[in-house]
């Protein structure tokens, strides 16, 4: 469990591509840009579609549901403020095959995580007004 994370955890720096992603997270939503021409959802967020190069991307709110594609357990502290042991997963989101993001797995012991486990997004406040998309078993 990672309720022991310290306040010095690195804060994500929004940029022109990612600002809406972090804004949505601060509101408790998982949001990514979807191409208006071909329908592909891009992660990391992009302003031009990597699949078809169309330039109209629309930010959509995702269900936050997915499954564990793979996972590992961080046993040593390499990042300031992120304390071991901690499960780090790759989540495949239900909206699109191969659409995967990295997260911690909260609400279960690191060794209990399994590939294929159904998960849902939660939003962890790591600094005032800064929330990190995270996942837990559903």
């Amino acid at each position: 469990m990672n309720d022991a994370q310290s306040p010095q955890r690195p804060i994500p720096e929004p940029d022109a591509d990612s600002a809406p992603y972090w804004q949505a997270a601060s509101e408790g939503r998982l949001s990514l840009p979807q191409c208006a021409a071909c329908g592909r959802i891009a992660f990391p967020p992009r302003q031009i579609c990597p699949a078809c190069n169309a330039s109209r991307m629309e930010w959509i709110t995702l269900s936050g549901r997915g499954t564990v594609y793979s996972h590992c357990v961080m046993h040593e502290r390499f990042v300031r403020g992120v304390n071991p042991p901690l499960a780090i997963g790759q989540i495949e989101l239900e909206e699109q095959a191969g659409l995967r993001l990295v997260t911690n797995l909260l609400g279960c012991a690191p060794e209990a995580v399994r590939i294929g486990m159904p998960v849902e997004a939660v939003f962890e406040e790591i600094a005032p007004g800064v929330r990190l998309p995270q996942f837990r078993p559903r």
């Binding site: 690195p10 590992c72 046993h75 390499f78 780090i88």
Partner: protein
């Protein structure tokens, strides 16, 4: 499909390197110049002959400070420190040494340069852990990983390995075959960090987990060291001291694994020895499958029974790999590939090497290069 008009028209003619050290009082710039001078001397040349330079300055450590001459060596720094006069080509690139050699082939074949120096330095930060990230904010690609505890590439490889074990029934015991092969070969390499220490199955299975299922011995050991090679045209190469290592093909990791065999005209069965990038042990399984040495999901079986060892079907990482020698980011693989095709690998020499494969590619999206080196 486009071909490559430079098959065997350029060659590597000299190598230089420094010992693999965990820490040193010597500056990284000093180490870089030492490796450069060693490569120049090995080729039988002088500094005045070198009219081109391609380096890979980036320090990939999450703890890096990116200070020229301290933990990185830029083309500008090296050219000045080595005292190069009027170089016709100076370039920093972001890939591995194999990509720099591929570019150097073009620079000499065009006639712009006679001799191009390719150099890689690596720096083990003093007083900090190599993978330690101490920043308070995470921008660029780090924003999606660092806040979750992902520092460097290990977690991504751990994910790849976990999925591979799940899909194909592979085990950590099976992965030991890759690490043990490296560590066995490292004992025959005088500059290898692990030249004096065997790694037993017990040591491996009981090792500190880092990002489990990856343990500490699945990760290469960070060192401070440099390696360099000299690239010239086939015509000039023939007049120098050593049998040239002709560059017969180049391909990269965004292309199909078979591309290196197609473009070089060298069949996989005609390759006598291969150096396969092993910054993290699972890379070797991934590449053996992509190159077609075995089928998808079969590499964990392929690497057993001495098949990849000296005396085996195709010996792999005969210098000990980065897991046995140290983290030179592909330069160790390149150097050994050259030494094998020149016939200068000493106790590690594979008999009758005609074609020597050097794989610097990664799992994932980095377009890092693979080379085929051939004897004339």
């Amino acid at each position: 499909m486009p071909g490559w008009n430079l098959r065997n028209r350029a060659a590597i003619v000299g190598v230089g390197y420094t010992p693999m050290l965990r820490s040193t009082d010597r500056s990284l710039g000093t180490i870089a110049v030492e490796a450069a001078l060693a490569a120049i001397a090995d080729a039988g040349l002088t500094r005045e002959d070198i009219d081109g330079y391609i380096g890979m300055p980036n320090a990939p450590s999450p703890a890096a400070r990116h200070l020229d001459g301290v933990d990185e060596i830029s083309a500008v720094y090296l050219a000045a420190a080595l005292g190069m006069k009027e170089p016709a080509w100076l370039m920093d690139q972001s890939g591995q040494p194999t990509g720099a050699v591929a570019a150097a082939c073009h620079v000499v074949a065009s006639g712009l340069c006679n001799y191009v120096l390719v150099l890689r330095t690596m720096y083990n930060p003093v007083g900090r852990r190599y993978q330690e990230a101490s920043q308070t904010s995470a921008g660029g690609p780090l924003q999606y990983g660092l806040p979750y505890g992902v520092s460097g590439g290990i977690a991504m490889l751990a994910h790849w390995l976990q999925r591979y074990m799940h899909d194909y029934g592979a085990t950590r015991e099976a992965l030991y075959s890759v690490v043990a092969n490296d560590r066995r070969h490292a004992r025959l390499n005088p500059v290898a960090y692990w030249r004096d220490k065997e790694l037993t199955l017990d040591d491996y299975m009981n090792a500190r987990p880092i990002y489990a299922p990856m343990c500490v011995f699945d990760c290469d050991i960070p060192v401070t060291a440099a390696g360099a090679v000299i690239v010239t045209t086939a015509e000039r190469a023939r007049d120098l001291r050593h049998p040239p290592a002709y560059v017969s093909g180049v391909a990269n990791s965004l292309q199909p694994g078979s591309r290196i065999f197609e473009i070089s005209g060298v069949a996989r069965k005609d390759v006598q020895v291969a150096q396969i990038y092993d910054g993290f042990s699972p890379f070797v399984w991934n590449w053996l499958e992509r190159l077609g040495y075995c089928g998808t999901g079969e590499a964990h079986l392929y690497t057993q029974d001495g098949r990849i060892g000296l005396g085996g079907e195709t010996p792999i990482n005969t210098f000990g790999g980065q897991l046995g020698e140290g983290r030179l980011h592909g330069m160790g693989h390149l150097r050994e590939g050259v030494m094998q095709v020149m016939g200068r690998a000493g106790e590690r020499q594979v008999p009758g090497v005609q074609h020597s494969l050097v794989v610097n590619g990664f799992v994932g999206s980095h377009p890092y290069f693979n080379l085929m080196l051939s004897r004339g």
